[in-house]
Symmetry: C2
Subunit: 320 residues, 2 copies
Amino acid sequence: MNIYDVAREAGVSIATVSRVINEKGNVSSKSMQKVNDALKKLNYSPSLLARALTVKSTHTVGVLTIDIRDPYYAAIAYTIEQEFYKRGYNMMLCNTGGSEEKKIEYLNALAQKQADGVIIVGSSFGGGRADDFLKEYAQKIPVVYINGYSEIKDVHFVICDDRRGIELMCEHLLKQGKKHLHYIQDDITFSAYQKRQGFVDALKRHGFPDGNKSITETGAGVNAGYEAAKKIFQTPCDAVVCGEDLTAAGVLKYINEFSIPAVVTGFNNSYLCEALMPPLSSVDNRVGEVACSAVEVLDAILSGKTAAEKTLITPRLVLR
Amino acid sequence: MNIYDVAREAGVSIATVSRVINEKGNVSSKSMQKVNDALKKLNYSPSLLARALTVKSTHTVGVLTIDIRDPYYAAIAYTIEQEFYKRGYNMMLCNTGGSEEKKIEYLNALAQKQADGVIIVGSSFGGGRADDFLKEYAQKIPVVYINGYSEIKDVHFVICDDRRGIELMCEHLLKQGKKHLHYIQDDITFSAYQKRQGFVDALKRHGFPDGNKSITETGAGVNAGYEAAKKIFQTPCDAVVCGEDLTAAGVLKYINEFSIPAVVTGFNNSYLCEALMPPLSSVDNRVGEVACSAVEVLDAILSGKTAAEKTLITPRLVLR
DNA sequence: CCTATTTATGTAACCGCTTACATTTTCTAT
DNA sequence: ATAGAAAATGTAAGCGGTTACATAAATAGG
């Protein structure tokens, strides 16, 4: 069933049907009525595919995440969906698993399916092959990056200052009198390196010039944290700063198990923090605000307005 | 840029270009070469929108979840994405928040955008307004339900026997000598009622006819579990069976805080179980298998094969 | 009452692709 | 060399909408 059927049923032309559907152009109340009746009678639903072909807008956006099972990405995706739903857009969820090839393939697919825009959440440190690709890509379809490497041209950025977040946490711990901070980096994203840098900077500023030596690199997840803890506590350490709540949970488990007198802190302020014993202090990286901003930026671009090239959001500590 | 540009560049007709792109029909190696050169030179990428208009397939599927932040839905979405990616499909993620209206709106949007199929994860208990809607809907576009109310016609079902899962857990606890089991229902989905029923059944079968009186209904999340625990332990209770790991985490927190001699069990076997102290025994509801099966079923339908109307997957206990 | 505007409607071209069908070219067998 | 079959190619008609433009109807002004 198509617009011709409706036109026939209503006894008008397809142009008139199109006009009443889109509430665009002039149409007499008489034929308006006839068309509406026909629409109802036939229970007609227009093909957005065909529509998109001529209006050049699908009202679909792509969202690239690294791992949707990670509460951080899930929370971002959640908010993005909500915000775009309000605005009449649908969301294509593209989970890359961190693979640059998959990322590129997805970006291509989104272009071919004429997504109106894309939001990329999290990126590798920069210089990845996707970065070059994006330079051209972003000229064809608007891209906003959440917590991504920010030297790419024509891409908009919404960034939570994760580096500052870790700095704040370190400063807090030092103020508490902790002497031997250790950092666990569990990822190799842009954001992960920022955090690491925050740790090094904070320590340096407080008279510990070689913070770099107090860093452990692991994989992601609770077990990784647990395993890391085994090594960390072989040397003196009274505070473990983690780049992720999950990692912190693993360290905490170890600490509890062996009654080690050290404190652990997390990052992301996920629901996990409340669930653990003792509750976990964490850096709130403002997932909701970040996602909202990203949607606002993209929506502005899609509406023909200009949007901030770079939006910086400040994290805050949640001490428990 | 379109297929005409490529045709002109290659000096052939658009039909020939189309043939080489889709590797369909006969084309001489000579013009094959010319077209491929043109494709490369122009860096052409066909519009899948236009293509879909005539071939009637978008290679896009919709996935409806209730809350993507919930690790259960996230895990399902994760696997669905992976499996469909392999098969060349993209995924529209539609998070309904449990609203039947939003569910219907999303289903309509998917139909208008000509999604090839949809997977719905989790449903209300049945009789919701979306159920009626689905009866008609499923005749137009294939629907497979994961853990959904299963009396709807023309809809395929992949169901983990959550009821049996809770039964197994209860039987285990009873065998351990527990005398006062209590159940916490934290949701009002189809699956949640199944679990509840499993609890009642198991108790009845072991000589506790009024298990219904030992059930607390709460909202979702760690805090809800914690609050529920306050009431539960006002009367004798040595085992709390939860319908969700998160709820269990809340109860566990309470138990630890007040050193209550009771055991808690969860459901979903999420990473949380390992993170908690003591580790949480949980029902593994086979998220991966369920999601894989759903994709297989939908893929079969889309490939014109016949698929199982109903797939039942058996949960298992993970005791820690 | 007639002309000038405004408002309403319809026709046809276009969006960018696929594909049935017609036509031309190439190949095979006589 | 030639008829017939097979292979290659092109033309044009969709797919289901939107919209520029032309035309017709309604309204306004003199």
